[in-house]
Symmetry: C4
């Protein structure tokens, strides 16, 4: 266990409390979500139906659209069946499947507001149910319009981080390095990064987990045109300066990475997070170059962002 770095200022504004009683697992998962569970919220506070429908993949979304359409129509078909298909201007065939299908067709024609009219409600019960189903159909369409707009207009940027954080040669000494890029084709501008380190230290005999902010070679760039290799120089100002690989691992470090940027297309703010734990640190390695110049144009191989070479 490492002694408290008296000379390095603790960073206290993470929003995570100092947790004295034991080593929790990582605070931030590598996909950026928090490793925290919140209980006592109401049932609906745990998830947002809208957010789910906006963010799920297209296959799942389309499946839900088709399934809900079929479900609603089967539901109304059963009601019409119960009322009696004679009320829909259809002959009762005494064949349950046929009658159900006729009721189902009528329901779909009502729900979608097609209303061919060969099947149409004759008695009051069928008419009143149909009046109600029409409204459901209108609201369904209205909802679909909102959801499709929501899906299309949400921010499309997706920041991908290298899987590992490296201790690489840097200038005369060493540097802690990771890199990231934008997996989408839009341009990110005014990109800022902040790196915090959580580690176990001994302070007056107490085993505590504390946070430190790491100085970076560069905190902000104008544009994320290619990839950005973020460097923390391991020099006199770094809490890592005198630690060996074994020392570092013993302190069970977690490197928390926060990225802010602006999506140039629609000026939306982008926030991304990740974290690196002990098993993601690689000592004495160097990221492979992923740039090439082809016909006077720079080409970036984003799929090779994880690639590094041990020295």
């Amino acid at each position: 266990m490492i002694r408290l770095f008296k000379s390095f200022k603790e960073y206290k504004d993470t929003g995570f409390s100092t947790i004295p009683e034991g080593q929790p697992d990582r605070l931030i998962n590598q996909d950026g979500s928090l490793n925290v569970k919140r209980t006592g919220l109401g049932f609906f506070a745990h998830f947002s139906v809208f957010r789910e429908l906006i963010e799920m993949g297209w296959w799942k979304f389309n499946l839900i659209v088709v399934a809900s359409y079929l479900f609603i129509n089967v539901f109304f078909a059963l009601i019409y069946l119960w009322i009696g298909v004679e009320g829909l201007n259809v002959q009762n065939t005494n064949n349950e499947t046929n009658d159900f299908l006729n009721a189902f067709y009528f329901s779909a024609q009502t729900f979608s507001t097609v209303g061919y009219g060969r099947e149409n409600p004759l008695n009051h019960s069928a008419n009143l149910v149909a009046v109600f189903e029409m409204l459901i159909g209108m609201m369904y369409l209205a909802l679909a319009a909102g959801l499709l707009y929501g899906r299309f207009s949400r921010p499309v940027s997706k920041i991908i981080f290298s899987k590992n954080i490296l201790v690489s040669p840097y200038r005369e000494g060493k540097g802690l390095m990771f890199r990231f890029s934008n997996a989408k084709s839009n341009l990110l501008i005014e990109v800022e990064v902040q790196v915090l380190m959580a580690m176990n230290v001994i302070d007056n005999g107490n085993n505590l987990r504390k946070f430190y902010q790491l100085d970076l070679e560069r905190k902000k760039i104008n544009m994320l045109a290619m990839t950005w290799t973020v460097v923390h120089p391991i020099d006199g100002k770094s809490p890592l300066v005198n630690l060996s690989e074994a020392d570092l691992l013993e302190s069970e470090p977690e490197f928390l990475v926060f990225v802010n940027a602006i999506n140039d297309t629609n000026s939306q703010l982008i926030h991304a997070r990740t974290s690196y734990k002990s098993n993601e640190i690689v000592w004495n390695a160097k990221f492979d170059s992923i740039y090439k110049t082809r016909r006077k144009k720079t080409v970036v191989h984003i799929d090779k962002i994880d690639k590094f070479t041990r020295l």
Copy 2:
């Protein structure tokens, strides 16, 4: 009544004027709304129909949708009835209820653009009314689409504050403390807090109500991962430093709390406010912990945010 704190800088940028002539009630209600009435605005400036429809609960919204749908169709049904149901290709049954219902069904079929066609307008009057109702129906659907999108896409964060503000032990002395959390499951980042205190003071014999900004242990955190206990240290820099509980209550204090944050999901800015009055101050108490570590994961019991223990 307390003498003017000559040594503490008055805070003048609240937007509330210094009010010399008497103690008003609280300036901010505990739900964050202002305790101010504005008159002289036009009728429509007092409320926004859209905002109401966006922010009301789902039960109320659905009720309004159904009620307006029924109302519009009853309205048009009465017009068709007045024109005569023969104009709708329906036999006049000389039964008022029957005729009204037939007119009502036709209206709904027109409004929703289902148009089965068994009932259809035969004469010019019925046709012209139907042409107009179709347009109303289209606009109703268009409006519903906008409202549903508006309802779903509005910010979902909801900050909940502890009901009380405590005077608790803090380091060697005391601190004024309250805490807050996010009642929704989304993540809030770059969370900032500002605390103002309004109190009655005597300045040159005048009884005035003045504002002071309270220094905080921490003004900003990276993430509201769990809850945030905001602490104002009652030390030499605090206007509360030499006040007893009785002194404080006599000055009829109001603590105004302002929180700004960013919703990580959609980058929307979040603003929340609350205030604590005399009866919400608890002297010499401590908030109960609401964190537990379960299977190396931190669990936060947000429903216990109000819980404290008197010392």
Copy 3:
């Protein structure tokens, strides 16, 4: 004409050039629009159809909806009439008005997608025109949904400024004062104001129009809870310090006011501007109070914002 104030720093970042050759009229109109004409833009750059449709009053908008609906249907009715109403399954009555109306009804039933079906396209020409009209109808509905959402979701704040700017008693001396409020019921937070003065000065014998930034008693407030009386103290730091009313008028001053704020409801940024010219300056007057305390609640009479009393 006034000599150049050597001791006051000219403000050069207005975006208006220093204009040496003559006195233009006001730069900003009192409603906040610029008094500048731009030519050479393409025809469509001069206005935005969408913005117009979003910002016009409801009466005008509804009129355009109804008019366009009628226009499109008359247009298609004429096409169907030209094709022949027999193609719509309607008997040709040899009565032009009747035939036109039947074609018009069919058009509306197609456009709105009601499609009762008594009238329906029989031949290829009528069918093909109807296929096209259905698409127009769908797009019309889609457009209406977007427009209605746009109308409802646009920022609703409206800042109203006092009609006059006053030279009032302030502390031991005088101050230049105007006030403003929010004419809507939403809350504005983080309200900032900037005041620039344009005036004619003589610099080395040249008659120039220059800008100065005026210091304010307060530049920012937390909330626009009531109204804000903005004060520029006319003291040693003010370019107005030694000017009489006649001096000031001779320099043909224009006071440019810029307000920024955040709409608390939806976090949208609000920008407002106004300007005061010579005839809107009132020397030696004081704004009337518009606050009252009623049942421990502050009441603000926003309709009296222009009221002042000459001293």
Copy 4:
């Protein structure tokens, strides 16, 4: 080749790496897009269908709407034809064109939810296909609503830059100047500009391409009321101070221009970029004035923004 400017601080935060191995072409194209190719992204990351549909011209968009409408209906018409038009309540004419057209009309009536009903599905196959087509039609309408709203509500500002960057007389010396304006009629406020210069320099015998930030006479203006002529004074603080035209061209400079602003209408942030290469630099020339005062109103001729006069 120019020696490294030891006295001028290199600007390292562009997001473009220092590229030692040869002169790439321009980094930013004159339309603001990056001259960088990214590979290794998934197929769909390369483009956003939604962004394309939002940003394309109206002719192209309308063409796509009509084409997709026809395509979908032809597709379903072929299915109905395969099932047999008798299933649509239409007589089989044994004329392929006629049958196809009847199936096509039915498809359009179903897709648009008009549903006149003369043609209507009789058997199960036709009914089931129709049930599915109705849903497609509803989704098509919902999608169109979202796309039209997206098209109308996207930022309308378009910043146009002068085609050339000039070396003009400025005060006692020279200045590097370009100008820009807003090609739309909305107002831009809080307009900021940053200019970087990329050039080849020799550093310890190495041929490197480095970036420098150029000081500007003015970095920010309140409003882009007219046009803004951005000036970099070529004085002692400028890396260009002792360069002749030949020196400058030999270093293959690229001037990168970044503009940020706020659209006053909807508070959206606007970002624009351009770059000037050797062939766009004009030595010893002056921009022509594009302002006139007509009836005390300033008139700006934006179409003349590129016009300059060689001295």
